[in-house]
Amino acid sequence: MKNERELIIEEAEKLRWEVGDNLHDSLLESIYKSAEEISRKVVSRNDAGKISRKNIDHLIDKIVTNKWTGLPIMFLLLAAVFWITIVGANYPSSFLAKVLVDTLHPLMKDLFVSLSSPEWLTGALIDGGYLAVAWVVSVMLPPMAIFFPLFTLLEDFGYLPRVAFNMDGIYKRVGAHGKQALTMSMGFGCNAAGVIAARIIDSPRERLVAIITNNFSLCNGRWPTQILIASIFIGNLVPPYLAGIASAGAVVSIAVLGVVFSLIVSWGLTRTVLKGEPSAFSLELPPYRPPRILQILYTSLIDRTIFVLWRAIVFAFPAGIVIWSVANINVGGISIAEHFIDWANPYAMLIGLNGVIILAYIIAIPANEIVIPTILMLTVLSLKISGIGAGAGVMFEMDNPADVAQLLKLGGWTALTGINLMLFSLLHNPCSTTIYTIYKETKSIKWTLVATLLPIVLGILVCYATTQLWYLFT
């Protein structure tokens, strides 16, 4: 049997000489010809009369993919999505915080105390784990429930390929794949999702570039930080009636800065370690389709919102326990957290941050969403302020940004700290889920490390430069 199979292959090789070498092209031609003939027989068009939908599609495309109007429209759409998210998420967020933190937290604590649970257990589980979860839910759920449907709406309508079309030229100029524009857009929702989406890029080299740079897309978990800090430090720089727009503008600027960084880093990578020519790809601009609202609500809530939220909760609970522990386990009279903060402060000051922020980022690796609550808790701890918050190591968030501002200023924060925190929030390691996803997608420890460490190095450099410039001019 084996010999006969080899004989067929040999025979085919022999015959191949007889038929010539462009058989493949001839076959394709034959197929195309048949397809054309058949379609001519069965398709009829009636273009008479009214403007067809195709013309409307062309008209929209002329505007949204135009060399001059395409990019501004893209940024405006992005800004509108952010603005709706920021404004809309406010009320449900504070409602959830009221229920989960102000009402349920004391109740649960009383329950544990009445069951005579030891103080360390109550602290770690309720003040640590539960509160972390409660914060993640109340801070993350509303913006996600608004952002994801809006994003899916644009996707269902057919706008995403146009984004790729607009960005394609820019990405190609930096040596990356045009489809990276799509994975970057996905990253605005969630970097882990963006990293998975990089599968649409065939060339392994360009896929790596897309994966490594996806973290520069400001993800969902990082907006609350951006929004809060922007409204405290940027919103305060302008008259109150402009505060909302100025803060939203600052957040959009950070997001745009992220895109710029993704381009710069892609450029650097494709000229050094990941050298090569960008591969061409054909992108078909699909027709615009009326979005199906119910379908969008379902998929964006179930597939995206709940999925991402659940992941955050899974990471937030143990992180909460760690936060409570480092703030309550004492070595030589002061807590581990304070030891670290005191040690890290001088280094952190060099880059315009402080020890609290550094520690918060280390603890919050599992989920970016808990950075702000952790910072507040650690600030109180390091200031030994009494009367604010619920005691040592208890995460809390204050309903009124003015209270937060006051606390932060007491902790030595300036506008520089705020700006640097926003920059550092954009430029630091990906969350642990994203790191794990990068490993799963690349199967390479080396590239996972690059993707993890590169943003931190950049973040430190950028914050250092900002700080030095700030001192130079003030």
Binding site: M1, K2, E4, R5, E6, L7, I8, I9, E11, A12, L15, R16, E18, V19, G20, L23, H24, S26, L27, L28, S30, I31, Y32, S34, A35, E36, I38, S39, K41, V42, V43, S44, R45, N46, D47, S52, R53, K54, T152, E155, D156, F157, G158, L160, P161, A164, K179, L182, R199, I200, D202, E284, P286, P287, R289, R292, Y298, T299, I302, D303
Partner: protein, 253 residues
Amino acid sequence: MNTTHDLKNLVKLGIDMTNVDFIVALAGNPNTGKSTVFNSLTGLQQHTGNWPGKTVTRTEGAFSYLGHKYKIVDLPGTYSLLSTSTDEEIARDFILFGKPDVTIIVADATRLERNLNLTLQVLEITDRAILCLNLIDEARRHNITVDHVKLSEILGIPVVPTAARQKEGIPELLETIHKVVTGETKCNPYRVNTNFRDIAPAVEKLESKIKVLFPELPNTRWIALRLLEGDQKIIDAVRSGEIGKLIFEEMEG
């Protein structure tokens, strides 16, 4: 009288793929609504999006219809099965080696000619196929009419016009799937004319040898053409006997 013509007979089974009777493959150009068809049959909510290239790997689900249980495989969208990108290979390998009982080709009714390129290539590989003429609502809006009866006559396979986003035509599609897998409807697919440049003798020579070696293969001519072209993947499959082995396994099973 016609009880099959009803969505009530459809049981969406999601990802429960135990003890399936038939395997259905879902092929088509990118962004023609394959995933939407897939979702409406399985009840799964695989993410659909209006951009090409969204389905990067194959996705599987199941449904049951009139007492038969089906596994359905959503293949990545491709424009062709003849070049060598990963997604095209995944799609082609499944239609060839996965031995689906029926392959549904989802085509965009507003861009029929280009979609037929893939359709004709699928028909070269498999005997049992259905053309799902999707986005028929969009075609109506663009004032495009497709004579699906005539198309079915030419192609030699059933053609079902659908608007999967609106669930239009899904009952008819199910009924057609049922008829094809049970043999009630026989397919006699259109084969592209390859009798050019006097290659016919060479193809026939190879084909007859393949037929002797793998008598159960339905698409010997296609294999012969690939061998003539020097398609490494097919050469390897012939060399290892993989092409024939799968068929014998299926016969025993």
